[in-house]
């Protein structure tokens, strides 16, 4: 899609909608930290006398890109890397490799790195990022076999 297809107000609307979804997914702390960085200009590329906030379109792209990076902590690759590293560094007194981690939460012991990994969401957000950056609008197309 053409990035000029929307005006600043429309890009801001999309950014607000995306932020609301991220918060509703339980990532309010991440959103709060990101919100403080959203309007900061890129100090490395912007001259000091031109430190103006990025456009809503740029903010949306930055927000999406960093949310994808955030989700990578729970990707299949990251899980496997943790499992391998843990097993190689930490052993039990019997010489067995440490298996993983558990989290005590609300009276429950939950095994870490179980449940669906985030790869599918990362891939979806990648298509969204491509689209708003001027690429094809595959993000809006249904995948084969998908129920709508």
């Amino acid at each position: 899609m053409d990035p000029d297809a929307f005006d600043d107000e429309e890009w801001q609307f999309l950014l607000d909608e995306l932020r609301m979804l991220v918060v509703r997914a339980g990532f309010a702390d991440w959103d709060s930290a990101m919100a403080q960085c959203l309007t900061e200009p890129d100090e490395e590329t912007a001259p000091v006398d031109a430190l103006i906030a990025p456009s809503p379109h740029t903010q949306l792209r930055n927000y999406t890109e960093r949310f994808m990076r955030f989700l990578k902590v729970d990707s299949a690759w990251a899980r496997e890397r943790r499992r391998e590293t843990l097993g190689s560094l930490v052993q039990t007194p019997d010489g067995l490799r440490a298996e993983g981690a558990v989290v005590a939460t609300g009276g429950l012991l939950v095994k870490l790195d179980t449940g669906p990994p985030t790869d599918a969401m990362i891939e979806t957000l990648g298509r969204f990022l491509d689209m708003i950056g001027g690429g094809p609008d595959n993000f809006m197309r249904d995948e084969p076999g998908e129920l709508t």
Binding site: M1, A5, E10, F13, L14, E17, L18, L21, R24, A25, G26, F27, D29, W30, A33, M34, Q36, C37, E43, R69, F70, L71, K72, V73, D74, S75, A78, R79, R82, T85, L86, L89, V90, Q91, T92, P93, L96, A98, E99, G100, A101, V102, V103, A104, T105, G106, V110, K111, L112, G115, P116, T118, A120, M121, T124, L125, F128, D137, F139, M140
Partner: protein, 234 residues
């Protein structure tokens, strides 16, 4: 005849985003508590990654050290901090030959330097007399809430964009771990691998792991307090 092209609208894209968040992350399908719990798991996954980075750095400095998990085959994390309760959760013992030289615990409330000498025996909520560290290496045999002098190194893990607010939190924790010693004090070269001398008394280290490169912007104030900033991305 050409078929009319459908113009994408912000509203249509927003609907599609909502569908994808529902499909992949459960937004609108799962309960609020299960979504929050799932989000916390991501924080803990990053804490585990940070802990492995810490162990890797220590092991790199002194390869003969052995890290042994005591109390099961899984490392235990908590969603809220608490004191060290030996036997209740697993921890990692660090061996140099037959000698234990340190212990790694997770999500531990540590006593603040301002808490005073009697605080070790206090129970319940200490209201600011302690601060939580995501990962802490303490002297062998440490019990309850570690005193500043019982801490060898602490670690904080942040899987989020680093900003001024996080720096303030970090500096607050650091200033409750030690008094600033401008001349520097000698730290353990195994556990504080980046510098022999830190401006800290007691001589403990603090390392902040962050998935965002923005952490590098804050190195100067961190250096002043002997905090190591590590960018650990995915």
């Amino acid at each position: 005849m050409r078929s009319p092209t459908r113009r994408l609208t912000p509203a249509a894209i927003a609907v599609r985003l909502a569908q994808e968040f529902s499909r992949h992350l459960g937004v609108g399908r799962h309960t609020a508590s299960s979504l929050v719990r799932s989000a916390r798991m991501q924080d803990k996954a990053y804490e585990l990654s940070a802990m492995l980075s810490l162990i890797g750095s220590i092991k790199h400095v002194q390869p003969r050290l052995v890290f042994r998990l005591n109390g099961g085959t899984n490392i235990a994390f908590k969603t809220g901090g608490g004191p060290i309760v030996r036997g209740a959760t697993s921890h990692i013992e660090i061996f140099d030959g037959a000698l234990i030289v340190g212990e790694i615990w997770t999500d531990v409330e540590c006593l603040a330097i301002s808490a005073g000498p009697g605080a070790k025996s206090l129970r319940g909520n200490l209201y600011g007399k302690c601060h939580e560290l995501d990962v802490v290496v303490v002297r062998p045999g440490t019990r309850d809430r570690p005193l500043p002098k019982e801490i060898l190194i602490g670690a904080e893990a942040k899987n989020r964009p680093f900003n001024k607010q996080l720096l303030k939190q970090l500096l607050g924790v650091r200033r409750e771990m030690m008094m600033r010693a401008p001349r520097g004090t000698r730290c353990s070269p195994w556990f504080v691998w980046w510098d022999r001398m830190l401006p800290a008394n007691p001589a403990s280290g603090l390392v902040a792991y962050c998935s965002s490169p923005l952490i590098d912007r804050y190195k100067d104030p961190a250096d002043y307090w002997g905090i190591r900033m590590e960018h650990v991305p995915f």
